[in-house]
Symmetry: D2
Subunit: 330 residues, 4 copies
């Protein structure tokens, strides 16, 4: 039984609280948030206490910290929690600064505690199933990867301004997915971006539509497409061409109802957004973290994985700005 303190009682904190409290092998002991009221409400719902994050990290009875606070606090909290001997599951991204994230890794890497980054999509049954099939050799050697990742609607411009930009905020998930599928970092990144969905996003210095091409040392290629707006719902697909075939992982649909009328054949839309699509993935992620903490299983998504995705995001940001292909540090 893992005793857990949850730092951050926002939307994603609520998701984690349900999984922590509902799992037979973990217990939600305490919740903190910069808004004390939010912490109290969430804590009450699950029979936990509302505390400060310091109080959580200093409590010797707490085994693990789940960090679901704002991005700018991640590195500090990872270091503090790890130094306090807590196992850590931290939401992505590690940091908006690659340098700071690397320093964080140096700080904690010899402390002997599990530190996991919350790239939840690796635990989606569809993407995990694709990976399983690839590992089984179903399509031979991978050659060309395509990732499509569209959000249903753009975020507020105020969020965009502090997000670190599309490549660090949104495509970072896809960079991690490419690393997960390809089992390697690319050697170079080429990115083009555009603010065609919402000019205000362009005015804020960001893009809302982007295409990134990744080149691997052995000649494999990958392409990632992002858009901040797909009015039909969250569109999350992965497709991998290999020497012996093609693997595709598609969207989950609202339901299986098909309606055929004189005007056409209509089927269900993709589930609306990440909470609907990835609810089961968050539960599987928590299960995997428990296995790492309680059973000694390897940490499935390491801090180094988080830094790798961040390095790719940084390269993509530079490429989109300069128009040049940017090498990725080995």
């Amino acid at each position: 039984m893992l005793k857990v303190g949850l730092l951050g009682a926002g939307r994603i904190g609520h998701v984690h609280a349900v999984n922590i409290a509902g799992h037979m092998r973990s217990q939600l002991v305490a919740v903190s948030d910069v808004h004390q009221e939010a912490a109290r409400t969430l804590a009450d719902r699950h029979g936990a206490e509302a505390r400060t994050s310091d109080a959580i990290l200093n409590d010797p009875d707490i085994d693990a910290a789940l960090i679901a606070t704002s991005t700018d606090t991640h590195s500090d909290l990872i270091e503090a929690a790890a130094r306090a001997g807590k196992a850590v599951l931290c939401e992505k991204p590690v940091d908006l600064s690659l340098e700071r994230a690397r320093a964080c890794l140096r700080s904690v890497q010899n402390l002997g505690v599990p530190v996991m980054i919350g790239f939840n999509r690796r635990f989606d049954a569809n993407f995990a199933g694709l990976k399983t099939s690839l590992r089984a050799g179903d399509i031979g050697r991978p050659e060309l990867l395509s990732i499509t990742s569209f959000d249903p609607a753009p975020p507020p411009v105020d969020y965009v301004k502090v997000s670190g930009g599309l490549f660090r905020d949104m495509m970072i998930h896809d960079f991690d997915m490419s690393n997960f599928i390809m089992d390697a970092m690319p050697v170079s990144v080429h990115a083009v971006g555009s603010s065609i969905v919402d000019p205000a996003i362009g005015a804020a210095g960001d893009v809302d539509t982007a295409v990134v091409t990744l080149t691997y040392a052995d000649g494999r290629l990958a392409v990632i497409k992002n858009s901040r707006r797909a009015v039909y719902g969250y569109d999350q697909r992965v497709e991998l061409l290999g020497s012996d075939g093609l693997l595709q992982a598609g969207n989950m649909l609202e339901n299986t109802v098909v309606r055929s009328t004189a005007t056409g054949v209509v089927s269900g839309k993709p589930t609306y957004f990440f909470l609907e699509r990835y609810m089961a993935a968050y539960a599987a992620e928590w299960d995997a973290f428990l296995a790492a903490c309680l059973d000694g299983a390897p940490v499935p998504v390491t801090l180094a994985d988080g830094i790798a995705a961040l390095a790719m995001a940084e390269a993509a940001t530079e490429s989109a700005r300069t128009g040049r292909t940017v090498p990725v540090p080995g």
Copy 2:
């Protein structure tokens, strides 16, 4: 907050226990079972007490009884619970005897407590979605209904012998589904059955494959197909032709992975059996029961609904035996 006693700690009792204990508006207070050890294990897991069913029904602090015991006890327990003032959710079928079920209805109908029968499939998002679309007028007037319902593998012959036969045990779900979709009872039933999957089922006096045709007073038709064996998984589909189109509700798949190779294009199989397919439906069913108990919403599946399905099963059993079309009592 509804305080609930669960009668029956078998496989389906476990499913209900999770939903009762996990819902914000209900609390699992006590569990009973003919095997005390089973009751204790399940009660412990959810912080409830193991008791006898009498103790549960006599506890004035308990608001509702969920009856998940063997079929032969259903009518007696419904009556006892309702007389004790408990709201009741009872697993299907009400009884193997239509006469006994009708007597049960007479006993409880004036007691003023909600009594709901657990036809879980009405709460499946796919079938409920089909019904919603029908109600919205998407396909005009319904004309021809088809229900396909195949189990992945036949039950043990010992079970078959006490099951009441395929029509009462398995197709009863589909009879209720036809009533749910068509909003009417048929006027006659024609059934053919065969024991082609397993001759031992035939030797036990039952069938394992059956086709039933329903005729409605206004000329509408329905056909139900059952098989005890579909090696690819639980196959649960509904299809409705109407004056303005067709509605289809299909299977849930394991995942969305598609694998294209030189030998073909392979996609996921249907989820294996009812626990996988209908897990979300059981939760939605519980939620609907809570709405009936706590919010005064109408009971969505009544005892009369359970009797209607049973009457159709009885008619089908007779039709399959005699080869004749059998009228359904109005």
Copy 3:
């Protein structure tokens, strides 16, 4: 090179003319029709002559007759053509009278000429592919067959009155399909019909919606569903459950375009009617007839096959009228 006379220059005659004239191994020599002008127009288009049917059947240079005239002339023309030594491909049905069709068979069976009935659906790539998979053992032993066959719109009531009724006119294709797939005649037929699509069809003594259940000597079952109206297009599907799996053959779609918007995901409708759906099947049928005539291949759909389907249609008509299950003569 087979020299062919075409009897009948109506809609289906036009389809056959294109296939005869376009095939490398056949030549369209002459066309007849009760409307001489229709014969002349069609003949001119393909460089053939317009003649009377007598002139065609008496021409020793003509090897084969394709009979695409009205149903009431089929038996007479089959006999006349076969006696004149012509190979015969005759459109379905052989006759509306089972007795007359049997007499026709007795007349021609010893004449030594190929006589084929035009059950075109056996040559549809989807249904033929299903049969190929069945023969390959992909799903083991067949157990339960379902045929769905809906027309896009009901025919004029004047046509209905002379059609012989839905079972002889429309479902006869499905009876042949069941024989093709199951490789056996059923031992009994149960039919229910309804005139729910168009009351005028009921007033004319026919049904427009029907469900037929077939029982086989070895316990296999089949169900056929017909409707005269599916506003979304021609709906032609076959589904076969076997001991090792399920085979399904579905509709051809207009195109593969899928449109996802805020209101739903819309894909192409089935091709509109039989000419669109079965155009390739008619060409494959002609190719198979040429193989029977020129290469000594067995006739793939015999006159006896035509009579078998007609016997089932007669039994279904009686069952729908009486409400009783009707045995099929062995």
Copy 4:
């Protein structure tokens, strides 16, 4: 009635011959080929004459020339045919040299004869259907286009050596498709390529796998993926994200049979290669050419369209070689 001379009796010449001879509004008069025997065989099959290409172009009775010879002869033959007053349909590409193609355009543009380039995919019902839906405003303003185009198997290396390279030989179809869909040329092209399918292709100086990103003046983006090998068959898909939704056009399948067994759910593969997939598109292309020649309809794919695609291929070739983004001349 258009009288047509066919130059080139190879594989694609055979496809065109069937369409020319089979169309009610055209007649195949003569066929030429560098291999006289090939010309004679094809001409005989369709009742045409075998001639030299000079004899065809000098025959005043011939209205149009279909050029299906080797690429290096295209420009010369287009010029000769147009000067002889023939309408021209020429297979893609116009030329491997952009300069020569432009000279060809200058030569013929004032001659007043229709000159059409054979980008057959524009006439595929799926891609044409996507374009129709786009024009109808179904997805609003287009933002992000994706084209997937995989061949089933790589060509012989000897062919690769004279092909002009993947971008001119294979992706040129996709460049034209992007122009067709986007109704604009991009302002810049970025390409990466790899010879991961077959090292011999790399040794011959070409690539077999490539990703190209196109940037448009108004901020729209497009990505094209090519591979010379998809072992499951010809994979030809287009996907377009717009402000109001997504359009997808997919593959044609061998048939609609779906086989569900204990090992999975297997459906038909894509049709094998371009002749299977695009047979109907070639016929529609010919029909459109006839409309331009006989009805005064605008030429649907002009010589300028052919040059635009070639200019993009040249830019992509340079980008893949240098690693730099290459502007496309306006």
